[in-house]
């Protein structure tokens, strides 16, 4: 993925091409409870990423032999709309979305109090409507809020962001241009209150020290996102404003 790309200067005069500093997030917009049929939902924008998450359940688990007698089974489906990327994506799951669905589910599992609902399923659906790199982290952020909106008991929210390396620098929250021409990408998800990492992937090439620095950068940004997630939920439930 990182090979054979043309050389593009991604940092000019200490700023990234979209004007951001190295440790700056793209603009974020969060709306809670945007769908009628789902039990919980959230629309989440991060820069040009537009993502919607819905939660159904706890509900009956099919097939029965896949039920867990001691706790709810969380199912997570990450899906890209065909028009969400430059080259139309064929509908249906591919290997990439299968892997992302797995690690995203495992990023949320630690905070969901699954033991409250044995034998049931909690379905989390994430649709990427428009993509601009970092979609899995946006999906996790949206899903986390949607779970709360559905009233699923959680220990805390999960917040997620990617860091990466471009033009030799460790920077926060790559956009698609940076991701395509960068040297490394590292999505992270975290439970902010306890600083517990629940998703960690790395792609590309990093020095150990760069990795450690990147992880700290991501963790800091997760705290920022966490505050925005909380604020959106408080907004929704204190004022009961419909979006």
């Amino acid at each position: 993925m990182k090979e054979g790309k043309e050389e593009i200067e991604l940092i000019k005069e200490g700023k990234r091409l979209d004007g951001r500093g190295f440790d700056e997030l793209r603009p974020i917009k969060i709306e809670v409870g945007v769908l009628k049929r789902a039990d919980g939902s959230c629309y989440f924008e991060l820069g040009d990423n537009k993502v919607i998450a819905a939660v159904y359940g706890p509900r009956e688990m099919h097939p029965r032999h896949a039920q867990d007698a001691k706790m709810a089974v969380v199912k997570f489906r990450y899906n890209m709309a065909p028009f969400s990327v430059d080259d139309r994506k064929r509908p249906g799951p591919d290997r990439r979305s299968v892997e992302i669905s797995k690690v995203s589910r495992e990023a949320l599992d630690p905070v969901i109090m699954r033991e409250y609902y044995p034998k049931t399923a909690i379905d989390v659906y994430v649709e990427i409507l428009q993509s601009d790199a970092g979609t899995r982290t946006v999906g996790i952020n949206a899903a986390s809020v949607a779970l709360a909106d559905a009233g699923i008991p959680m220990k805390d929210l999960v917040s997620s962001v990617a860091v990466g390396k471009i033009d030799g620098e460790i920077v926060l929250d790559l956009n698609a241009m940076e991701d395509n021409h960068g040297e490394a990408d590292m999505p992270v998800a975290m439970v902010a209150r306890t600083n517990t990492i629940t998703l960690l992937q790395m792609d590309g090439r990093l020095e150990k020290e760069e990795f450690e620095r990147g992880l700290k950068l991501a963790m800091g940004a997760c705290h920022q996102i966490y505050e925005l997630q909380r604020a959106a939920l408080i907004d929704r439930y204190s004022e009961s404003v419909d979006v």
Binding site: R37, K50, P82, L129
Partner: protein, 257 residues
């Protein structure tokens, strides 16, 4: 089983209301829910529209890519219409390959656009027999509160009316916009105990035995029709449904296209 009983109670409620001349949300029988059309919502798509009809929420994105024409129409572009009933949109939807409902929806929308010859397919030829524009119309359901087909068809034509042909992306030259020749609109009615209601919501759809989608054009001609559901319709009911279809289709065209 429990769900079936709830379902029956809901059906009875809808039917009782209708018998007394009312609908759950207070609308008249020939009245649509509020319609909202937002265009160009997806920048990665060459055209897009988000259509809300009441709580029903459908996102349509259109992408153009060069591809090979069909052997029997070497000088024409290709339309491929696809609908995904993603499980996010409704507890009734399941993951997996398209089921008969999403296939039907995509095909009815597709038929309306083809029947009206809304897209001038000859203008989508890049090199005869070799390369033409493929027009991918992708219908993505976000929230299913009934009458998906009218929302999807409206989203499709709204997207198509504003296409930017991505010539530069593929190193091509040519017209930048897609000349459209018509604006087909789908209007769906249901029959419940002899009453004809336009724009059924989710509960009304479930309570109805028959549903008819009528697609009509700017000049009042018809360019597609599809009855669905396990009931039958009388000739005069169909006549009423077609009349509503043409009338409401005109109003929607006027207002949103």
């Amino acid at each position: 089983m429990g769900l079936e009983i709830v379902n029956d109670i809901r059906k009875d409620y809808v039917r009782d209301l209708i018998e007394s001349g009312k609908r759950a949300d207070g609308r008249g029988f020939r009245e649509y829910r509020e319609i909202n059309v937002e265009r160009d919502v997806i920048k990665r798509a060459e055209g897009s529209a988000r259509v809300r009809i009441g709580n029903t929420d459908v996102l349509v994105g259109v992408k153009l890519e060069p591809g090979a024409p069909f052997p029997d129409a070497p000088g024409e572009g290709v339309i491929i219409t696809n609908a995904e009933f993603v499980p996010l949109a409704s507890p009734e939807f399941e993951s997996g390959p398209p089921d008969e409902n999403s296939v039907q929806l995509a095909r009815v929308v597709d038929r309306g656009i083809r029947g009206s010859e809304a897209i001038d397919l000859a203008k989508l030829c890049i090199e005869e027999g070799e390369k033409v524009w493929m027009v991918f119309i992708d219908i993505h359901i976000l929230d299913n509160d009934g009458n998906l087909v009218d929302a999807a068809a409206l989203g499709a034509i709204a997207s198509l009316l504003n296409i930017r042909i991505p010539n530069e992306r593929y190193g091509l030259t040519g017209e930048d916009t897609l000349p459209m020749r018509d604006r087909p609109v789908a209007v769906t009615t249901v029959e419940i105990d002899g009453n004809i209601l336009v724009d059924p919501d989710f509960n009304e759809e479930n309570a109805a035995a028959s549903r008819l989608t009528v697609i009509s054009n700017a000049d009042g001609t018809l360019s597609g029709m599809q009855k669905s559901g396990s009931g039958g319709l009388k000739e005069e009911e169909i006549a009423e449904m077609v009349e509503i279809g043409i009338e409401k289709g005109g109003e929607i065209r006027e207002k949103f296209l």
